[in-house]
C-alpha cells in the first residue's frame, strides 16, 4: 500500500523537524523519500503528524495481568466494547482484554508497547497474550533482578557466567531486556521479609541490592543489550524513598558513561519525601537534581490519575503494604526462584493527601527534568492510571492552567504545600511531547526504525486533529485531550488502521526479542543450566524454552557479540 500523508505539521524530533508543513510518503511498510503513484491520500492539512507512539513501560500481557482481569469482574462492569465490522468485542477499564488493549493504544496513535515485567518462567503465557494483542509491535522485559541462579553467580563475582546465563534465558524466553524489580527484596519476600536500603543484606544469599544492580549493569554492557537495565528501585511506594532512588543512581556513579546506563522506571512511586504517610512530601526536586546532573540516567513518570485502577507489580512486599493500607482484595504470588508478584485494586482520590502528593510528584519530575530526551511519559498502566489517561497527562504537561484547575476544588490543600508544583511555570511544547512519547522512548529502546519519520523508518504514523498554529495549548487543554484521545488517522506498518478515532483494520504487529547468545555463551550457559537449573526449578529446561515458531510474528534483534 502506498500512502501520502499530505500537508500536515510534522513533529519529528529525531530528525529535528518541528512543525514544518510537509508530506510524508509510505510505501510498503516503510517511510520513503517520494512516491510515483499513491493509492491513498490522507489529508492532514491543519493537523499534527507524528511518528507512532512508543510506550516504554506498560503492563499489558502475562499471568499477572490476566489474574488481575479474573480478580476484578467489577472492572469490566459498564465497560463493554461491542464487536464492530473491523474489531472484536471486549471488556475492561483498567485491565482491558487483549483486543481492547490493542485498539485503545492504536486509537491514541501508539504503535509500539513494551510489556514491562514478565517472569521468564511465565513468558509462554506472556507471548500468548502478546500474540493476541492486535495493532501494536511489542516486546517484554524479563524479570532477572531476583533470579536465584543469576544472584548466586553475581555473588561469586562470575560476571561472564552470569552474562552467558542471562543471554540463554533471554534467548529461551524471547525477552527484550533486563528488568530489575526491588533487587534482593523479592528474594527476601520468599521468607516474608524485605530489604530496606541498597546496602541491606539479602537473607541467605550473602549479597546486597547494590551488588545485584552493578552486576546486572555490567552484564547488560557485556551482552551489548539495546536497552539499559530497567530498574524498579527498592523501597518503592514508601515515604522517604527518594533517598533510596538517589542512592541507586549514585551506586552506579563508578560505572558512569556517556551513553544511557540505567532506566529508573515509574519514578513517581520512588520519589517520596517525609518519614511517614502523614508527613509525606514530594522528593521530586532531589531526584530531578541527580538525574539532571547525569546524562546516563533516564526515567519515566509513572504519572498518577485520580481514578479507580488496579495495581500490579512484581514487588510482592510492597503490594502487601498496599493491601494493609487499603484493606482491599489482594493477590500474592510466588514464581519459583525468580520473582514474586502482587495485585491490589486502588482508588486514587483528589482529597487524599498521599494521592494528591503522588499526583504532584509525577508532574514535578517531568517539569523539573530539563532534558526531555531522558524523561518518558508513562502512567505505568494500569498501576498509576489506566492507559486512557495518557491524553490527560499530556494536557497537564502542556498547560499550567489545567494543572491549577486540577489542584482546585476537592484537591487536598495540605498536598499543595508539600510540593513545588504550584510554582512551576514550565509548559511542554508539542515538540517536547513528541520527544517524551515516541522519539526518546524509541531511542532508549534502540528501536532504530521507530520514533522518527526519516526515510527507512517503519511506516508507523499518527495524525492528530489539532492545529498547532491556531491552538493555544496552555488555554485550550480540552482540545489537546480530545485530539490525543482519538487520533484522526493512524498508519501502522503501512496499513491505515484508524480513521477518525475508530479502528478500521485489525493488524498484528511483531514481537521483538533480543538474541545475544553467541556460541561461546551458549556453551557456558548450557553447563550452568545442566548443573544448576534442576536444583532450583520444578520444570525441565526444555519446558522453559519458548521456541521461536511458537510466536506469531517474531522479530529477532541481534545484540553485541554477533
Amino acid at each position: 500500500m502506498s500512502i501520502l500523508i499530505k500537508n500536515g505539521f510534522v513533529y519529528d524530533p529525531a530528525n529535528k523537524i518541528e512543525g514544518d508543513q510537509m508530506d510524508v510518503f509510505i510505501e510498503g511498510s516503510k517511510v520513503v523519500e517520494s512516491l510515483d503513484n499513491t493509492e491513498w491520500v490522507l489529508d492532514a492539512n491543519g493537523m499534527v503528524v507524528m511518528p507512532g507512539g512508543v510506550d516504554i513501560h506498560a503492563h499489558i500481557a502475562g499471568s499477572k495481568v490476566n489474574s488481575g482481569r479474573a480478580m476484578r469482574p467489577e472492572d469490566h462492569q459498564g465497560h463493554h466494547y461491542p464487536r464492530t465490522s473491523f474489531t472484536r468485542s471486549g471488556t475492561g477499564r483498567s485491565i482491558p482484554t487483549t483486543f481492547v488493549t490493542g485498539y485503545l493504544f492504536s486509537q491514541m496513535g501508539y504503535t509500539t508497547v513494551i510489556e514491562a515485567a514478565s517472569p521468564p518462567m511465565k513468558s509462554r503465557h506472556t507471548h500468548e497474550e502478546l500474540d493476541d494483542t492486535p495493532m501494536i509491535d511489542k516486546a517484554f522485559l524479563a524479570l532477572l533482578g531476583n533470579n536465584w541462579i543469576v544472584t548466586r553467580l553475581l555473588r561469586d563475582g562470575k560476571l561472564e557466567e552470569a552474562s552467558a546465563f542471562i543471554a540463554w534465558v533471554l534467548n529461551a524466553v524471547k525477552g527484550y531486556g533486563i528488568k530489575i524489580v526491588n533487587p534482593g527484596g523479592l528474594i527476601a519476600w520468599g521468607w516474608g521479609r524485605n530489604v530496606s536500603s541498597i546496602d541491606d543484606h539479602v537473607p541467605l544469599f550473602d549479597i546486597t541490592p547494590r551488588e545485584i544492580l552493578t552486576g546486572l549493569l555490567m552484564v547488560n554492557r557485556i551482552l551489548g543489550m539495546p536497552h539499559t537495565i530497567h530498574v524498579h528501585t527498592n523501597n518503592l511506594g514508601r515515604p522517604g524513598n527518594y533517598e533510596t532512588t538517589v542512592d541507586t543512581i549514585k551506586a552506579l556513579d563508578p560505572y558512569s558513561s556517556s551513553t544511557p546506563s540505567i532506566h529508573i522506571t515509574h519514578c513517581q512511586f520512588n520519589s517520596y519525601g517525609g518519614d511517614s504517610w502523614a508527613t509525606i512530601r514530594s522528593g521530586a526536586e532531589e531526584v530531578a537534581r541527580e538525574v539532571n546532573s547525569r546524562e546516563w540516567v533516564t526515567i519515566d513518570m509513572g504519572q498518577l490519575g485520580f481514578t479507580a485502577t488496579t495495581t500490579m507489580t512484581a514487588d510482592g512486599p510492597f503490594q502487601y503494604v498496599l493491601y494493609e493500607l487499603t484493606g482491599a482484595k489482594w493477590l500474592n504470588a510466588d514464581v519459583e526462584s525468580e520473582t514474586s508478584a502482587g495485585i491490589v485494586p486502588v482508588i486514587y482520590r483528589k482529597k487524599n493527601l498521599v494521592n494528591a502528593v503522588q499526583w504532584s510528584i509525577g508532574l514535578e519530575l517531568a517539569l523539573l527534568i530539563k532534558d526531555p530526551w531522558r524523561l518518558f511519559m508513562t502512567t505505568d498502566h494500569p498501576n498509576a492510571a489506566p492507559l486512557t489517561y495518557y491524553p490527560t497527562v499530556l494536557a497537564w504537561l502542556m498547560s499550567k492552567e489545567y494543572r491549577e484547575k486540577t489542584m482546585s476544588g476537592k484537591f487536598n490543600k495540605r498536598a499543595k504545600k508539600r510540593s513545588v508544583l504550584p510554582s512551576i511555570d514550565r509548559e511542554y511544547t508539542l515538540q517536547e511531547i513528541a520527544v517524551i512519547t515516541r522519539a526518546a522512548t524509541a531511542r532508549a529502546l534502540k528501536l532504530m526504525d521507530k520514533g522518527h519519520l526519516g526515510v527507512g523508518a517503519d511506516g508507523d504514523v499518527a495524525v492528530y486533529d489539532i492545529n498547532p498554529r491556531k491552538t493555544e495549548f496552555s488555554k485550550e487543554y480540552e482540545l489537546v485531550r480530545k485530539a490525543f484521545r482519538r487520533a484522526k488517522y493512524v498508519v501502522k506498518g503501512g496499513d491505515i488502521v484508524v480513521i477518525n478515532g475508530e479502528v478500521v483494520k485489525q493488524v498484528y504487529g511483531k514481537t521483538m526479542w533480543v538474541n545475544s547468545l553467541t556460541p561461546q555463551r551458549k556453551e557456558a550457559a548450557e553447563q550452568i543450566v545442566a548443573s544448576e537449573f534442576e536444583k532450583h526449578y520444578s520444570i525441565k529446561p526444555s519446558n522453559y524454552v519458548v521456541e521461536e515458531d511458537y510466536l506469531k510474528k517474531p522479530l529477532e534483534i541481534r545484540a553485541g557479540g554477533f
Binding site: 480478580m71 476484578r72 469482574p73 467489577e74 472492572d75 462492569q77 482491599a328
Partner: protein
C-alpha cells in the same frame, strides 16, 4: 405496555424507566432500540404499547422473566410490574418506586442507592447485593418482599432496609457493613457471616446454629426499620473474625435448639 414476544435470550431493558420514557412521544418510544441476545429489535416488536401512562408511571404486564435491568438507575417515578419480573430489577436505582405483583428474580435492587421496591411474591438470590467483585452493595432505600427470597440477601450492604416476610436462604447479610435486614420466616443458615456492622433479625427457625464467630450478649427486643419487634430475640455481636460489631437477633420461641445459650 405488555410483553408480546416470547424469547429465550435475555432482553436488555435498561432504558425501560419512567424518567427515560417520560419525555418521549408514543411513536418515539415505539422506535427505541431493544437488545435481545445479539440482535437489536424495536421496542414495539416486543411490547404492545397502547398509550403511555402519566408522565411518571409505567405499567409493565406479562411474563417479563427474560427482561433484565428494568428501572436501572431510575431516579423518580413509579414502575408497576403486573406479572413476573426479570433479574436486575431496579439495579443501582436512586429514587422512585417499583412494585411487582408477582415474583422477582435474582439481583433485585442490587447496588441500590435509594427509592423503594415492593414485591408481593418471592425474590431470587442477591437481593440488594453488591455485584461480583465490587464492594458496593445496597446503600439506601427499602426493599420489601412479602414472600421468600434466595441466598445472599443484602450481600455487602452498606445501608438501607431489606424486609422479608417469608423465609431467607443461606447467608443473609453476608459481609454487610451497615443497614438492616428483617427475615419474618426461617433462615437457611449462617446469617451475618463476615458482617462488620448493621442489624439482622431472624424471626423464624434458623437451620443450624449461629456461626461460632458471633458472641452471645443477652435477650432483647430489637428495633428494625423503625419498628420495635414484639417478641424476644437472642442478641449476638459479630462477626468477630472480621473485627465486626454487627448485631444479629434470632427469635427465642422458634429456636429452642439455641436455649443452651441461656446457660452459658
Amino acid at each position: 405496555m405488555e410483553i408480546t414476544k416470547t424469547v429465550e435470550a435475555p432482553i436488555f431493558g435498561e432504558m425501560i424507566s419512567p424518567a427515560n420514557l417520560g419525555g418521549m412521544s408514543l411513536s418515539e418510544v415505539k422506535k427505541l432500540d431493544l437488545q435481545i441476545g445479539n440482535k437489536t429489535y424495536k421496542l414495539d416488536q416486543v411490547f404492545s404499547i397502547e398509550e403511555l401512562d402519566s408522565e411518571n408511571k409505567l405499567v409493565l404486564a406479562g411474563d417479563l422473566s427474560h427482561v433484565r435491568f428494568v428501572g436501572s438507575r431510575m431516579t423518580e417515578g413509579n414502575i408497576l410490574v403486573e406479572g413476573r419480573a426479570g433479574p436486575y430489577l431496579g439495579d443501582s436505582m436512586k429514587g422512585g418506586e417499583i412494585v411487582v405483583r408477582g415474583d422477582a428474580d435474582s439481583w433485585l435492587g442490587a447496588r441500590m442507592l435509594g427509592g423503594a421496591i415492593e414485591v408481593s411474591g418471592n425474590a431470587g438470590d442477591f437481593v440488594g447485593a453488591a455485584y461480583r467483585g465490587s464492594v458496593k452493595g445496597m446503600k439506601r432505600g427499602t426493599i420489601k418482599i412479602h414472600g421468600s427470597c434466595g441466598s445472599w440477601a443484602g450481600f455487602r450492604a452498606r445501608g438501607g432496609l431489606i424486609w422479608i416476610d417469608g423465609d431467607a436462604g443461606l447467608l443473609p447479610g453476608m459481609h454487610m457493613s451497615a443497614g438492616e435486614i428483617y427475615v419474618g420466616g426461617g433462615c437457611g443458615g449462617m446469617p451475618g457471616a463476615e458482617m462488620v456492622g448493621g442489624k439482622i433479625a431472624v424471626s423464624g427457625h434458623l437451620s443450624g446454629s449461629v456461626l461460632p464467630s458471633f458472641s452471645y450478649d443477652k435477650k432483647s427486643r430489637p428495633k428494625i426499620g423503625g419498628v420495635k419487634l414484639e417478641k424476644k430475640f437472642y442478641a449476638f455481636t459479630g462477626d468477630i473474625a472480621q473485627g465486626g460489631s454487627g448485631k444479629l437477633y434470632i427469635d427465642e420461641e422458634a429456636n429452642p435448639h439455641l436455649k443452651y445459650l441461656e446457660d452459658l
